[in-house]
């Protein structure tokens, strides 16, 4: 089955005062139609930058150094700005982390929502306004019509995020990229938002790429998970496989840091020692080495390659690690 989106060898770096910051290194992944891909990793691991690169939404200091992103038969990375504007919003939608700063504070909600409808679906002002009210209704905002005349600061955080979701799905894009949409929200609201997106996905059959740093959030929600670290993909597997059989020391560490429901509370949550990596150079070894409890000599000299994990339950389980930790793990 041809993937809906196929990214190969994406390389993005930022120009900084001292040199460069290598944010995305040789990242390759794909997304099939209708599936939900979760992207997990700590702050600064490159998950957001990867997705922003696809839509050319990077800040001026960033440069896409290489790779391709095939969507609908065309390479997104080679598109001119005018072409990619037609993809943005209409084919690929994106929602961001902080709904307060992601909405224009001096423009009415209705106007902001009408914009993609008028730009892509060529609706008139009143048509777009009407459709926007329907969309707000769809995401569960009461008194939708009245809300259109409000400004973002008049709504609560959860409601603003619903507006963002409605806005991004307005033109029924094939793919929705959600960049940590729940991180800035209260826990109870988080659950509501995830439920909302799940319902919408089922209804519209949207393909979703969901970025988060919270593993527990995506368990019952995504089909596959991609774990990133220091700009590299370190592990990739169907969600059940990943939870049952995590292979990369980093993934293991992430799980270890999660408290479990039903545990007696005696186990100390494990932390991953060390600090986040310095991205100012491309490492010639595995980027996780300083924090890895399983590092061998080979890990210190050669950067691991993403390959199918040995003896994995699912053939789609890929891993970038020289070590088979199953032997080294304690029970």
């Amino acid at each position: 089955m041809t993937p809906l989106l196929n990214v190969k060898n994406l390389q993005t770096r930022f120009k900084s005062r001292q040199g460069y910051i290598y944010a995305v290194n040789d990242v390759s992944f794909h997304v099939l139609e209708g599936e939900t891909l979760g992207v997990v990793g700590e702050s600064g691991c490159g998950k957001s930058v990867t997705m922003l690169s696809l839509l050319k939404l990077l800040p001026p200091a960033a440069r896409i150094e290489g790779g391709q992103a095939i969507f609908n038969g065309k390479n997104l990375l080679e598109m001119k700005t005018k072409q990619i504007r037609q993809v943005r919003g209409a084919q690929i939608g994106m929602i961001f982390q902080d709904p307060m700063s992601s909405l224009n504070p001096v423009v009415k909600i209705g106007v902001q929502m009408s914009e993609p409808l008028r730009a892509h679906l060529k609706m008139s002002k009143s048509q777009a306004w009407e459709r926007s009210a329907q969309l707000l209704d769809m995401v569960g905002i009461p008194e939708a019509e009245a809300r259109l005349h409000d400004y973002p600061h008049q709504l609560s955080g959860g409601m603003r995020q619903r507006v963002m979701i409605a806005m991004s799905l307005a033109c029924k894009p094939k793919i929705l990229i959600a960049d940590e949409p729940t991180t800035a929200l209260d826990v109870t609201i988080q659950a509501q938002i995830v439920d909302l997106v799940r319902d919408l996905r089922d209804e519209l059959n949207t393909t979703i790429i969901w970025i988060t740093h919270d593993l527990s959030l995506i368990a019952g929600f995504v089909d596959r998970v991609m774990v990133m670290y220091a700009g590299y993909i370190v592990e990739e597997a169907p969600v059940d496989d990943l939870y049952d059989d995590p292979r990369h020391p980093y993934t293991v560490g992430l799980f270890g840091a999660l408290p479990e429901i039903g545990s007696t509370g005696q186990r100390r949550l494990t932390t991953i020692k060390g600090a986040p990596p310095n991205l100012e150079s491309t490492p010639t070894c595995c980027p996780f080495v300083p924090r890895c409890g399983y590092a061998t000599d080979k890990c210190h000299t050669t950067n691991p390659v993403l390959q199918p994990a040995p003896d994995a339950a699912d053939p789609n389980h890929r891993l970038a690690c020289w070590v088979d930790i199953r032997e080294r793990r304690q029970a």
Partner: protein, 328 residues
Amino acid sequence: MTDETATTTNSVSLDAEGLASSKKYNLWRDAFARLMANKLAVVSLVLIIVLLFLALFGPYITPYDFLSQDLDARNQPPSWQHWMGTDNLGRDVFSRVVYGARTATIIAFTVVGISMLIGVTLGSIAGYAGGKVDEFIMWITTVVMSVPAILLAVVASVSLRPPMGRWMENMYFLTKIQIFRQAYWVDLVLLMTALVLVLWPTYARLIRGQIMTIRNQNYVLAARALGVPTRSILIRYVIPNSLGPVIVAISAGLGSAMLTESAFSFLGIGVRPPIPSWGNMINEGLDYWRDSPHLLIYPALVLGMMTVAFSFLGDGLNDALNPRQWRD
């Protein structure tokens, strides 16, 4: 293998009081480094230091006395003997420009200094005490600020001149100190009084705003919760954190005071001839603008340069003290 894949954290040590102090990172050192990296600011700083030097020592090292006239050599264009030419009374323009630096510097620094003193005092009281005291002080600043600055200063300086003159006469009779005789000092004091009157509310408001903001910051609340005495809070937290905008305001104030002084001298109500001020030199030079433009150009140039220098320094200080690191 890469050497440091972990980011360098700052080494933290505990000093004698058991409070953590960071050896590598210090706000002032950091700001200073940033300032030095800003070439425009450094050039401006150099210019200002030159200005100060000239103000202090200039009149002693200039080739001519700024008052001595040479009626045979009037309105001469720049030459080797007179680097900036001579004016309509044969006085050396260069020496007068240098003396003008002294005038400008004395006025600017004194005015800003006194305004700061008054402004900081009143502003701190208002900011820290709050309530009625704050309201009252703010009301006074509003009243003063609602009169257009130049207007107020002009009125003040002109109307206070006669009584000031009389007072000076009396003081001379009493003490026989020469200073009271010189019209120059009357001019200076009047001008400075007028400028201080206009400038202090700005500083008072600035300080008050800073103090109020800092007072409500979490780290102050935390300190109070820990039982840190108020004096320590003031010295260690409030004052260091409020200095930033104040320093920038001082730099801007200096430039602005210089400009205002020359405007006043130009109008004839500031420093009056024969004592040179860039402003009154420009005024005198205006009459000869067709034939001897150098009379006008040199003081104007110097004035402009110093204003720009103070402005750039102010900007540089602002960037150094308020880094917006992600905005590059």
